[in-house]
């Protein structure tokens, strides 16, 4: 289904969509013919059905897909029920979901050839304790995204774990009403990425050993534009020091190794309560989009970005930046936690609470390049831009599904 319209969305948020009673439970065991048996169950399921994966390793030769509303796929645990795509021959992802009100929980995908789980135009989806792993560790030959909801309204990702993605571990694109929570993103190029999306809460996650921990940005020329209203809160963003292994050409291939949190070309992003440590380039980086674009709908500036109280440990001590040695010398061996390019659109520039240390490139024009930088200490006003928790995150109906 395409994105729900506004009326449907408000109905969704108020929880007035009746959930069909559990119509049936279809149990699928690992073993011979798993591909056909599981795929057939996914096709023949009725709304309300629960497909239960047994413990064990499901050897799969092709991508799977689900296109029935209100279906739950439940395994015996993210370390017990494993969809193994090591021998996958076709399809662009391990599991594709294109229906609404779907719950995926307690299973793993290993070594999908493309993306792990992609849910597209799949509103009100829950990912609970899903693991996607490329077992050979970081490699450019791994698939791009681990958990990949796109063009959807109502997304809850909870207790999940992704490692080895050659783009983003958890990638939410062109969507709204999003919660990414209590999940682990390890050894991906980007740990968690919120792209061209609105109303997102990213809370209580661990991002470590990625090239960049948590990224929030907008790209031009996409069907859905105007990302913003994002809260990044109480995340542990430590030791994101993996050399960038993204294939060139992708936007994340430009992420500097050692970036904790990156905010680029977005409107309204709150960074607070996070613990950031051992991110060698910058704990927090706030910048404009620098590449050329041709899209009148696009705003390249980072607007209304607020850095609240965070715990900043050691970091910025091995930056992947031109002139790193001089910068380190100038700043006494480690760069301060917040890096800003200095580019503001009117009064919407970066603000930070008292005591947040940082430095600015003091650029004067978008796309100017680092050659024009005049680095200096960060001096920005105290925040006045207000965020409202009630406007971010997944609808309550999705939360309620976690307990079932």
């Amino acid at each position: 289904m395409q994105n729900l319209n506004a009326a449907c969305l408000s109905a969704l948020i108020m929880g007035v969509f009746a959930q069909p009673a559990a119509a049936g439970v279809i149990e699928i065991a690992a073993g011979e013919g798993a591909q056909e048996r599981l795929q057939e169950a996914l096709i023949m399921a009725q709304p309300g059905d629960e497909i239960v994966l047994g413990a064990g390793r499901f050897e799969l030769s092709d991508g799977l897909s689900l296109d029935v509303d209100s279906v739950t796929v439940r395994g015996a645990g993210m370390d017990a029920s494993i969809l193994d795509f090591t021998s996958q021959q076709g399809a662009g992802e391990g599991l594709l979901v294109t229906s609404d009100f779907v719950t995926l929980r307690d299973f793993a995908l290993e070594n999908p050839k493309g993306d792990g789980v992609k849910s597209k135009g799949a509103d009100a989806i829950v990912y609970h304790r899903i693991r996607v792993t490329w077992t050979n560790g970081p490699a450019a030959t791994n698939g791009a995204y681990g958990i990949y909801p796109v063009e959807s309204t109502g997304i809850l990702i909870d207790g999940s774990k992704v490692s080895g993605a050659s783009d983003a571990g958890i990638y939410v694109g062109q969507s709204r009403a999003i919660t990414v929570r209590n999940s682990i993103a390890e050894a991906n190029v980007a740990g968690i990425e919120i792209e061209n999306s609105r109303d997102a809460l990213v809370e209580g996650n661990i991002a470590t050993r990625n090239t960049g921990g948590i990224l929030v940005f907008d790209l031009p020329n996409l069907p859905v534009m105007g990302g913003g209203n994002v809260i990044l809160r109480n995340n542990l963003v430590v030791a994101n020091d993996e050399p960038n292994f993204a294939p060139p050409g992708n936007i994340v291939a430009g992420v500097r190794r050692g970036t904790g949190i990156l905010v680029m070309a977005n409107d309204g992003v709150l960074v607070e309560g996070n613990i950031l440590k051992d991110n060698p380039t910058a704990h927090v980086m706030v910048v404009a989009y620098t590449q050329q674009y041709d899209d009148t709908r696009y705003n390249p500036y980072a607007r209304n970005v607020v850095v609240g109280p965070n715990s900043f440990g050691r970091g910025g001590d091995d930056p992947q930046l031109d002139g790193a040695a001089q910068l380190l010398a100038a700043f006494g061996g480690a760069l301060p936690p917040v890096l800003w390019d200095g580019l503001a659109q009117g009064a919407t520039g970066l603000t930070a609470v008292s005591g947040v240390a940082g430095w600015s490139l003091n650029l004067t024009a978008v796309g100017q390049g680092l050659a024009g930088a005049q680095p200096g200490p960060l001096t920005v006003p105290a925040p006045t831009f207000a965020f409202d928790d009630a406007t971010v995150g997944a609808p309550a109906e999705l939360e309620a599904r976690l307990t079932r």
């Binding site: 021959q89 076709g90 030959t141 060139p248 050409g249």
Partner: protein
């Protein structure tokens, strides 16, 4: 050109024979099309007078496309069924508007020791609540094809001599290509990709309300050497890629729109950066770099057979060298 003329004549004759047949249209089960649920066997539809020889039943009309979709070099046999008294409606140069009760049938075959071996037949059924896509796999005896709801894999030898693992799509995969705005729709029978003679024969047989208005037809694939490079390549991309790469379809989030009618250079990939290509980018920065097919992601992915890189994602176990050449010729001449 002779071949085209002969083919058009044969089709016209087929439609004419159908129209003048005095006996009622028999053989095809309208109930199976409109009300059959998941019909288990292809023969239950009665689309063929001789299924093994792919001779259609009365009322089932063969057709071809000017530029066809490449499917590992499979030979394809296409048929349209319209229920008695029903008419297709012209819809400009786009998809013919087909009534409830209509069916589209496409058989995929490969040659084995000189003999045609039927692999699968896919049907699109227009039911009251929309189109339904179902895949049928032929048995060893080549007498019956059975529904394979979850798809299948089998080994075939392509015309190029490669031995491949051929994928029969599952029901959901049918929708990955045939889905638009959440519904299943036909892809192939657009007026611009059908021969004028065939369309005229439908009209004269009373099977279509009027002749569709087509500004520019897609080039005949086998006559592409004499056609402008841009028309050939854009036709190829329209037919092979644009069912996903268009607004409202499976690859809409890429922002790439490869439809024939799209005239915005950026939207068709010229100077466009990838969005979610991952390692599919192959290290290149843009979908299409004018004059540089070797630096264009689009060509890189067409040439790949690797999962996560290869395009199209479905129905491809071999590289379409002719298609690659057509697109390279276009980009090279930009």
């Amino acid at each position: 050109m002779i071949g085209r003329w002969l083919f058009g004549l044969a089709l016209t004759a087929a439609v004419g024979a159908m129209a003048t047949a005095s006996q009622p249209l028999s053989g095809v089960s309208d109930a199976a099309i409109t009300d059959g649920g998941l019909v288990r066997s292809l023969s239950d539809f009665g689309f063929f007078a001789d299924a093994n020889a792919q001779i259609p039943a009365s009322g089932v009309i063969p057709y071809r496309l000017n530029t066809p979709l490449f499917s590992d070099g499979a030979e394809k046999l296409r048929f349209l069924y319209l229920p008695p008294g029903a008419q297709a409606a012209a819809n400009g140069e786009g998809l013919l508007s087909l009534p409830v009760g209509a069916a589209l049938i496409k058989t995929f075959a490969f040659r084995q020791d000189g003999e045609r071996r039927l692999i699968e037949t896919r049907v699109l059924l227009h039911r009251a609540d929309g189109w339904v896509a179902l895949p049928y796999q032929w048995d060893e005896a080549q007498q019956e094809a059975r529904l394979v709801i979850a798809g299948a894999r089998l080994t075939v030898a392509t015309p190029a001599g490669e031995t491949i693992s051929y994928r029969v799509p599952n029901k959901n995969q049918c929708k990955e290509c045939h889905g638009l705005g959440g519904a299943v729709i036909p892809i192939g029978p657009k007026a611009r990709n059908l021969s004028g003679e065939w369309l005229a024969s439908l009209v004269s047989a009373g099977k279509m309300d009027q002749m569709p208005q087509v500004a520019a037809s897609l080039p005949l694939w086998e006559a592409r050497e004499g056609e402008p490079a841009a028309a050939v390549a854009r036709a190829y991309l329209d037919v092979n890629c644009a069912h996903c790469h268009r607004p409202g379809a499976t690859a809409s989030n890429s922002g790439l729109d490869l439809r024939w009618e799209q005239d915005d250079a950026h939207a068709i990939g010229i100077g466009k950066r990838p969005v979610a290509a991952g390692r599919g980018s192959g290290g290149h920065e843009f979908d299409i770099v004018p004059g540089r097919s070797d630096a264009s992601i689009l060509v890189h992915r067409m040439k790949s057979l690797e999962g996560g890189v290869a395009m199209p994602e479905l129905g491809k176990s071999t590289v379409d060298e002719e298609g690659v050449a057509a697109v390279e010729r276009w980009i090279g001449g930009m």
